[in-house]
Symmetry: C2
Subunit: 460 residues, 2 copies
């Protein structure tokens, strides 16, 4: 029996212990956005530091201007070093009445078909996921007394509340955290049978605008058509963001947006993805975006412009014939490849200004910007991780794109200059950020086994 086989057997034998430890951290209400839970959030950090120390990590709770970080090192083994990132904080739980169980009293629920899920806040996002990696380390230590490669673990306590203290923490501790690769466990599988490595994430450029016309609300009977109506101006600005073919009209928007590499295109084509099913699950059927692009392209590799919120004038019950003094919108752009968020923001502002009448004005508010990240999947870490996942799940692990943005990935890539291998065992129906969050018991169990295999593979 090889070391890996022994490690996997140990994992299987110790599932009760692993669940007990997971439930211990799940019971701690580490709601980072709510100051009332600051003490319990710190208690959760301390729990993780103690847990890491028990596995032999040189672990500590590290203060920041907000909630603390947890850092643990094991300088064992040779081969490439890795930095693992996870977060121990969770989302708030309201509306509490929609939960079928106490969100902080985790349970194992057995479904009629015999499958089991773990329910509770943080089961999937991210305590359950981060513990898959920790438990894999624990098993390696138990069996061989050491880890296959040097490992640093960084657990953040503010991922769900802005994460403003992460960049300065990385800057201040660059040497300590440096590694050959980074690993993150905060993403999903392709489907419940198919493991996935997320190899690209889109960037983001968020912008809020307030269009102002008259210095007060006006009666539309007396002023209508003579006075500029901010609702009309805003509708024009927003409608003009896309042309008839669904392309974004901003000047230079597609600069730095190449066609997909053929290899990735082929790999995506092989995925068992049904656009009708994807849209059908949310009650839709017609892809709305760029003509001639597949739904996977639209959501993974093409840039988008979305109006996330807009409003102006009377929105209550009944009717008021008002011309409002102002109207507002929040618009976000998802960016890919080498699109520059600052150039996109400037082009958007030019687009807006060109549509503001001479006697009206507009105010701009910046809401975040981040560039896209995409990793070269031919690199050894991606190939080894893919092989390990395929071995565990008996099905080819997929390289997938991510439509959203995970700021820490960009930060690590930028500040530490390393590739980030994003492997996660969540499923699309895990209800993260919502009531009745769950995580499959199989995700937890095979997730631990997957990381045990990946650690072995990276050492080779």
């Amino acid at each position: 029996m090889s070391d890996l086989e022994k490690v996997l057997a140990t994992i299987d034998a110790d599932m009760d212990g692993a669940l007990e430890r997971l439930f211990a951290t799940l019971r701690l209400k580490s709601i980072s956005t709510d100051p009332d839970y600051a003490a319990e959030t710190r208690a959760c950090a301390e729990w993780h530091a103690k847990d890491l120390a028990e596995i032999g990590f040189e672990a500590s709770v590290r203060d920041t201007a907000g909630h603390p970080m947890v850092v643990g090192h094991q300088r064992d083994g040779s081969g490439p070093s890795v930095l693992f990132y996870g977060h121990y904080d969770v989302q708030p739980v309201d509306p509490l009445e929609l939960w079928e169980n106490d969100p902080f009293d985790p349970k194992i629920i057995t479904r009629p078909d015999g499958s089991k899920m773990l329910v509770g806040r943080g089961t999937a996002d991210d305590k359950g996921q981060l513990m898959t990696f920790v438990e894999a380390c624990r098993a390696w230590k138990k069996v061989t007394g050491k880890l296959p490669i040097p490992v640093t673990i960084l657990l953040e306590g503010e991922e769900e509340s802005g994460g403003v203290n992460l960049p300065p923490f990385l800057d201040a501790n660059l040497e300590e955290l440096r590694a050959d690769y980074a690993l993150i466990c905060d993403t999903n599988m392709w489907d419940k049978a198919t493991p996935a490595i997320t190899t690209s994430l889109r960037g983001l450029c968020g912008e809020e605008i307030v269009v102002r016309a008259a210095d007060r609300d006006l009666h539309s009977g007396f002023y209508g058509s003579a006075a500029s109506n901010p609702n009309h101006i805003l509708a024009r600005i927003l409608a003009d963001l896309h042309d008839d073919t669904g392309r974004v009209t901003l000047a230079g928007f597609y600069d730095g947006v190449p066609e997909l590499p053929e290899s990735l295109k082929e790999s995506w084509a092989k995925l068992d993805f049904d656009p009708a099913e994807f849209l059908g699950e949310v009650g839709l059927s017609v892809p709305a975006g760029e003509e001639g692009r597949s739904v996977l392209e639209m959501t993974w590799s093409r840039p988008t412009a979305e109006v996330n919120g807009m409003g102006g004038g009377y929105q209550g019950a009944g009717f008021k014939t008002v011309i409002p003094a102002e109207a507002h919108a929040k618009v976000s752009f998802r960016l890919v490849f080498d699109q520059d968020p600052h150039k996109v923001r400037a082009a958007f502002r030019d687009h807006v200004k060109a549509r503001i009448p001479a006697d009206c004005s507009v105010e701009f508010h910046e809401h975040g910007s981040g560039t896209a990240v995409a990793f070269d999947t031919s690199g050894p870490a991606f190939q080894k991780a893919q092989g390990a996942l395929t071995d565990e799940w008996g099905k080819d692990a997929a390289f997938v794109g991510g439509g959203g943005s995970i700021p820490v990935t960009t930060l690590i890539k930028t500040k530490l200059g390393v590739d980030v291998v994003m492997v996660g065992f969540g499923l699309a129906d895990d209800r993260i950020h919502s009531p009745n969050e769950k995580y499959e018991l199989e995700s937890f169990h095979k997730g631990i086994r997957s990381w045990a295999r990946i650690l072995a593979a990276l050492a080779e």
Copy 2:
């Protein structure tokens, strides 16, 4: 001294008495929209019936399903009969803290320049205005023992709260209320030196739409561009309502919209109207509507489409990358001449439906419809009233358009089949419906004298 001269002298001599009577009705809190004031609203109706009876009217309080009407008749005199309409109910007074005086304790305030105003709820809208007509009748009776022409007075108690009981009341009492002309005192002067007769009012077609796409809010990172965004659909619908020249694009929208008669065009051109000042007062400077149309045309004789309210997605502080499940808008059309509100509504719905993707839906809610009214100012009642006003104010009385809609005018025109002469002495700065409502003492005094002259002129 002619009878008219004696009447005018009597009015001047009895101003203290007229103010005392006006203040008596102003002190009654006839807030029709608030059930807590139902008894006081009825008390106000009773006060007016008693007051009319004292002048010799055969007056009664007439029950409806809501607040009562007051009806008074004097069958004196010969010549054309008139139906005078006013309303004794008032708007609510909140926010009370913005009032400089108790809204129901009316006062005369003398300004530094010596001019005087009456302050309190209802001074301008409509108790002060309706009492100008009542006091003119009182003076005629006092001097000559009769009125120059047969007069019926109808006072409504629900003008500020929907007026739903007026149409059935008119229907049920058509014969009793029938007259050769109707008079309404609920409009404004052109400016404080220039009396005006409002000869047209725009109609209204109000419509609310709710655009629905996915069956829940979506994350714009995961679904952006692939899933229909109701904000985009709505922006397109609303932006497409106008073309580049400011014309409304609905099919057939301008059917029944002729060019202005030359005589009215000339009369408007003579008005001392400065578009820059009109817009400047509210912080604007560039007319926004149809190219090649004057501001008076835009607000009086051209139809308009205004988005009074719209909203969709996240409108709170900060940012949420959501694709909302729905977005909504309230749109009103001001109609002129023979435009048919039902056809306009149908054309709008077609316009909307044509822009709803196959997998999305739209819900329509009707919010009122009324046709425009416009009277032929060459008719004798208009000419005589204009002459009487010109005599009183020493300045040519203007025929003006009204941008808003006064439902009772349309009702009387439709149900009784008579022309409505709208004469009022309010000013644009009277703050009706707002705290610190006022009415110029001069409006009240010369308003009474104006009606005394109009009654005489109509008898000729």
